[in-house]
Symmetry: C3
Subunit: 350 residues, 3 copies
């Protein structure tokens, strides 16, 4: 676990800042968040599901966050909140604040002419910032990032080391980009002519809204003609591919290894499980949830959960089933044939 | 959209350079390509499918590219071409030329002894070039790239920032590598001995032909004993994994998140849709098209389209179907049983 | 193939170092390993499967490694080993040793205060090493790597160019990290509140054991509260996503494009084929083998092979089968209905 500087708050201070109802010792010192099983006396934990009642009973945590319904599930010092996991996230943020960046430009950084960098921004070693780029207040750019010409980055945005942003892309405020993310590479735009592929120049940009977080080695391609758009509050995990001209609605979240093909339009508040794939030019409504490993091949107009995963089994069992999968059509024929025969038998009978 | 330097051509100049038949005002100024829906009067658009007739009728585009069959579908100034999308790609390239690299080596770059760099090449900041590497004419290497010992890069090749090329790999002319691509890392070569894995040194290289384009964060491993080969004109999208000893034939194209396992041999003019996977040691014929999300588990000897995706449905519907998927074998048994019974009934009948 | 410095050994020297029984000329000079088909007279090859008998008969290899059973399958100079592929791996390592790193810190590297770097370590150009990091003996860090604050790296570990390690993570001895790997980025930890996602600070670390190898552009996220753990001898290929709090047991190996979701616990000596996916919070027993393209949705308690892949077919055939896949439930209903009717017919009959 973290070895950073310790921040300590009393339960009373926590509730004063974050709200909620406090039962028990207001002076109890809390220095870290922890899971019920591993918490120590100066840690605060949370209880979200009655499945974990045994862990709650056994926990060494000094305090626990619970909802109204479970307010008497423990007699430890506790905070009652109608959303314990969100409350826990806030306590965790309070106890583990981002280290404030030290303002200034590292002497090894290379800044091209006409770039405008806020005085409070922190530019790390080996960073390259292109012509005419604009870097907002308190932005932190980690070692080895490459920021293209005319890129604009909003205030309080954080780039971990080795992020690349191609020319002209725009990032909002409080965006977090993890290492290896590549924003604005050319979309996969090709025309076919006499057995060869011609490259279609990709002249759109990537526009990323406020409060977006993008995982390590995730790639978001620039638009072909229009822009690729990631609206505010979107959260993308690692190793996700977002193709050109995709539009992802606000507050949607996608787990690792997802792929979104070109010009797909994803609604707001959607979720896509790990390795989910959405084909090109589809429209996905708001509040759609795509399961892990699911391939979406048609537009979805209604909110809800959608799945296509093939169930796994032992390899031997799978071999048997797979053989039938290849012959479902003839299986259906056999059933039709049986139905006819039975109809005949019944006719003769009567 | 792009805010680069504007390039403007008249329709007459465009046809003089790129061919095609011009109907209408030869003096019309065109400064950018655009989609039918968003085009403005100084833009040129293209009409490829009659599905978009309504958009064609409503477009603000100054001019349109169409095929012979649709030559009267609009009365706007227009260019008739037998391949409108390829023509559009060429106009787009004309109006959005690559910025010529400024020749020279950035003072922060580190060049090891015996590397040979053409005078017209452009080497960006924080680039590291290994011993004995050869960099061709007009090559452009973006910020933070790492070029291994004895690597050879052909003329007019373009590396975006933060590409890594391991030792001894060879790139042809006019290759484009996007940021985060890793060429020539060790293949996944292991031998098993007493419960442990022994690393098998990977002594092959990666050879990349002319006019290849490779997407952001795509990885192409070096060969184990022989070389991994990407033939000319191949186009690979982002986040693709190409394992050791793979051979991809000329002018094949693969969309994002594809994986090609070791020693697979893919033919010429193949396409693989997003997240398609091809297992190791398979042979795929020329002109094969693998659908998105499809897992290829056997060699393919005939051209054509191949698919394995499981259709998606609402999660509730899927739960019902998935239960049967696990029991297809017993379903087939039941059908066989029914057939026997009906045969008996029919026998008794007669 | 490799153009490195040549290392040459006689067959006698090889057997003296690596064991095995030598039949034939002990003085034969061997300068490289090769496949049977492409071997030249100074190469040594290996014969593992009788499927390759024809290649064995035709090989130009100077010597061959075989098992006891096949000791007379060729009359060439040969080494008898009970594990020819492991023996081959060892010969390959002997003939292709890692180039010893030149000790020292490149003048362009930036080392923050309180970092401790062994005198025998080699730190490449444009490397950034954070406060309090500890770099062991003979560690080699390639160009452009970024090592976070308080990171610890064990002896003889090798980082290829452009690896990123976030703060506080720990690597064992003899670890190999390929280019673009990102170790310790934030896990995808979010709480939902009023339609928005709150980030949960990720305060765990990544702990990587001895002799682990991690492929290009693979990402391993730090733990949310506890640590993400990769035990000794684990081998991960390229473009793999390992989410927060995952635990991978010793000597497990995973091929390219695999995804392991949060808090999954994978046993020892497991293998996962390319693009296999394991959902979150699952427990996978030791000695489990997950097939390529397989999605694991439930915990696995027994060793063995598990598969879920949908078999591929021509697209036309697939279209027919896919239609039935969507209606398996009604197909099952029809079968039930037929069974009832037949039972009725049989009842009437008797």
């Amino acid at each position: 676990m973290s070895v950073g500087i310790e921040h300590t708050y009393t339960l009373g201070e926590i509730v004063a800042r974050l709200g909620g109802e406090l039962l028990g010792d207001t002076q109890l010192q809390i220095d870290q968040v922890a899971a019920l099983e591993t918490a120590r006396p100066r840690n605060i934990s949370f209880f979200a599901t009655t499945r974990l009642k045994r862990q709650l009973d056994a926990t060494q945590a000094g305090a626990v966050i619970l909802n109204q319904e479970n307010r008497e599930a423990t007699q430890k010092p506790r905070i009652i909140s109608n959303n314990p996991s969100a409350y826990f996230a806030k306590v965790a943020a309070l106890l583990n604040p981002f280290e404030p960046a030290i303002a200034g430009i590292h002497p090894t950084a290379v800044i091209e002419p006409d770039a405008v960098i806020a005085a409070s921004a922190s530019i790390g070693p080996f960073v390259h910032i292109g012509r005419g780029a604009r870097i907002g207040e308190r932005v932190k750019i980690g070692a080895g990032c490459s920021i293209g010409d005319q890129v604009a980055i909003g205030e309080d945005t954080l780039l971990y080391p080795r992020v690349v942003i191609y020319q002209q892309c725009q990032l909002g405020a409080r965006v977090i980009l993890h290492s290896g993310a590549v924003i604005g590479a050319d979309g996969f735009g090709l025309a076919h002519e006499e057995g060869r592929w011609l490259k279609i120049p990709q002249i759109g940009r990537v526009l990323i809204g406020d409060d977006v977080e993008i995982g390590a080695n995730t790639t978001i391609d620039r638009g072909a003609l229009e822009d690729t758009v990631i609206e505010e509050g979107v959260k993308l995990d690692n190793l996700i591919q977002v193709a050109h001209n995709v539009h992802i609605g606000a507050h949607s979240a996608m787990a690792g290894c997802v792929g979104i093909a070109g010009s797909a339009r994803i609604g707001r508040n959607c979720t896509v499980g790990g390795a989910g794939m959405i084909l090109g030019h589809l429209q996905i409504a708001d509040n759609v949830s795509v399961s892990s490993g699911t391939l979406i091949t048609k537009s979805i107009t209604k909110p809800g959960a959608y799945t296509s995963a093939m169930p796994f089994s032992s390899h031997e069992q799978w071999l048997k089933n797979a053989a039938h999968l290849r012959h479902l059509d003839s299986m259906a024929d056999k059933i039709r044939h049986l139905e006819q025969k039975i109809a005949e038998l019944e006719r003769k009978k009567s």
